[in-house]
């Protein structure tokens, strides 16, 4: 809120209430600054403790510096796989949530089964099954005379990794989307119905735009989690951060060194993502500011 906008014409001191208000605001600002400084102080102390603890490991910091590039080259792959996967997961989650909330029992059944199956099995096993299991179904389909369909199921490593991450996160995000949609007051629906909107119109114009505000911060949250879960796709041979760190470390048995570097890169990525997320959240909140 801009204080100056409240200032009436004439000198500020003419109004004792206003000057008291201004003093209160500046006091609050100072208190906030002090709090931020204290938090920064705590962070610096903790980072120092962490650094001292890490130096107790048998690590060779020079090795990390000399060989950092081969791991850093994987950052773009991690970001790319995560971004594409979160995009697909968002679509799946939207469809899943609409299915869960629909009055159609087939749609409800499908989305309920999807969420239950995918949330109930480990992501690592899903990755293995999608990479080496789907092609075998594809081969059967080809043998049955559907070569196009069969070939569609033979995914290369990148496609299989993206599919597994999308399916997995889509299931978790289905619940987030469902909660977001359900959080929109019932009065909104009634008002939309009273205006004669169809179900689709109501979703498009009334429910989803408001639900998106609730959902977006959680998508950001899931994106941060996914960046780290994308490390699992290294098992099918995608050259992202973890694959490069793990495979390169074997050459000189410098596992701790390369894993520390990988961890630092993931941390940096999530710090950047968190910052972007908080900015996005701030922007989403604008419409509701008074």
């Amino acid at each position: 809120m801009d204080v100056n906008a409240l200032r009436p014409f004439g000198p500020a001191s003419a109004d004792p209430d206003l000057s008291m208000g201004l003093k209160l605001l500046s006091d609050q600002r100072r208190a906030r600054l002090v709090r931020v400084m204290k938090i920064v102080g705590v962070w610096i102390a903790l980072v120092t403790v962490l650094a001292v603890a890490l130096l107790q490991l048998r690590v060779d910091p020079g090795y990390i510096v000399d060989h950092r590039q081969i791991v850093i080259d994987g950052v773009w792959v991690t970001i790319g796989v995560s971004l594409i996967s979160i995009g697909f997961a968002t679509i799946l989650a939207l469809l899943g949530a609409l299915g869960r909330l629909s009055r159609n029992s087939i749609a409800q059944g499908i989305s309920g089964f999807y969420v239950s199956l995918v949330r109930g099995t480990p992501l690592l096993i899903q990755i293995y099954l999608i990479y080496s299991g789907l092609p075998q179904i594809g081969k059967q389909l080809t043998a049955l005379g559907f070569p196009q369909l069969g070939r569609l199921l033979v995914l290369d490593a990148t496609q299989a990794g993206i599919l597994a991450l999308s399916l997995n996160y889509g299931a978790y995000m289905t619940e987030i989307f469902r909660a977001g949609i359900q959080s929109i007051g019932h009065g909104q629906r009634e008002a939309a119905e009273a205006l004669g909107m169809t179900h689709g119109q109501m979703l498009r114009r009334i429910i989803l735009p408001q639900a998106v505000r609730v959902i977006i911060p959680d998508i950001g949250n899931q994106f941060i989690a996914m960046q780290k879960d994308s490390a699992l796709v290294s098992v099918i041979g995608i050259w992202e951060i973890t694959f490069r760190a793990n495979r390169f470390a074997r050459q000189d048995s410098k596992f701790i060194e390369m894993y520390l570097l990988a961890a630092a890169l993931y941390w940096l990525l999530t710090i950047i993502s968190s910052w972007l997320q908080s900015r996005l959240e701030g922007r989403m909140a604008h419409a509701y500011e008074r």
């Binding site: 081969i70 594809g138 998106v212 495979r247 390169f248």
Partner: protein, 320 residues
């Protein structure tokens, strides 16, 4: 204002969807074989101009990542495959030479080792040149070519250890191995290598399984008996980590030798028989003209290939 906000949020959702769709479109898998007009695997490879090789760059000096490498500019390899310049090692050099003698370019994919040995590759790669030991179990899923070298398997213990003098002293002790590999089978007494009689000198060892040998060697290096009493692994792998400074030593002589060959999926969509024979011929020629011996001395400093050249490939009885 409210409507404005609704429009904006819809646009933001749509743009996410579009971004996702946009990236999805340009990926019709280039690794897929052309329709069944090419019935023969070898013809298909020559037609394509690339030999797609699987390798797990987790096993130096067989296969490892190259630092500061760039992708070859004029490559025929598909976008999700890696060119020879991005990898290095004995397996890589051997694969490149096989491809050269076939008259095609070698391209590499890097799936996990378990996915390579499981067969059913769905034609995503043509051949594994990955130091794979010939075993009867694997022969059910894969065809093996003439072996291109052998690996002695040896036990390693911590350098502080004085309690063990020979491998048989390890009976009943805790030994680390890579899960599901030949060393695991040796310790459980089920290993059988075609063309070799194996003496199981270690009995009832407590087997500790690891994802790969190097992790086990790391654990052994923590101290004598801290997590492991010994590790059974390839002699070159053990010697390699000792040279890198891990405080370990080899215990006695190698306990068995493995014949390491290139492998080809039996479940290929096209007939692999002539391809298996052709690669075997190429490897036999590489033994005969000393190419493999030279590569072995370059990467291992010793001759690991001569015994593999003398191996009776026809004795495996794989092809009708």
């Amino acid at each position: 204002m409210k409507r404005m906000h609704a429009v904006l949020s819809l646009i933001s959702v749509l743009s996410i969807l579009l971004a996702a769709c946009g990236t999805a479109v340009p990926s019709p898998t280039p690794t897929q074989p052309p329709p069944t007009t090419v019935p023969d695997k070898l013809a298909e490879i020559l037609d394509r101009g690339t030999l797609i090789v699987s390798t797990d760059p987790a096993y130096p000096p067989q296969s490892e990542l190259t630092e500061g490498a760039t992708r070859a500019a004029d490559t025929k390899c598909a976008a999700d495959q890696h060119t020879a310049s991005e990898l290095a090692g004995f397996d890589i050099d051997t694969a490149v030479e096989i491809a050269r003698r076939l008259g095609v370019e070698a391209c590499f994919v890097t799936p996990d080792w378990t996915l390579i040995t499981a067969g059913n590759w769905a034609d995503r790669w043509d051949i594994s040149v990955g130091s794979m030991t010939i075993t009867p179990e694997r022969m059910e899923l894969l065809y093996f070519t003439q072996p291109y070298y052998t690996t002695p398997a040896a036990f390693f213990v911590h350098e502080d250890n004085t309690a063990f003098a020979q491998p048989s002293d390890l009976s009943g002790r805790k030994v680390g191995v890579c899960s599901g590999c030949t060393y695991d089978f040796y310790l459980s007494g089920t290993l059988s290598i075609p063309g070799e009689t194996i003496d199981f000198v270690v009995e009832d060892a407590e087997i500790a399984g690891y994802d790969t040998d190097t992790t086990a060697l790391q654990d052994l290096a923590l101290g004598d008996g801290v997590r492991l009493d010994a590790v059974l692994t390839a002699q070159p792998t053990g010697q390699g980590v000792i040279e890198d400074g891990l405080p370990l030593k080899q215990l006695g002589d190698p306990v068995f030798f493995e014949y390491l060959a290139a492998a080809i999926d039996k479940a290929h969509g096209t007939d692999p028989a002539s391809f298996v024979e052709k690669v075997t011929e190429i490897i036999q020629a590489m033994h005969a003209d000393g190419t493999l011996l030279k590569l072995s001395q370059q990467h291992y400093g010793v001759d690991l290939t001569t015994a593999a050249g003398e191996f009776e490939w026809a004795g495996l009885g794989q092809l009708p």
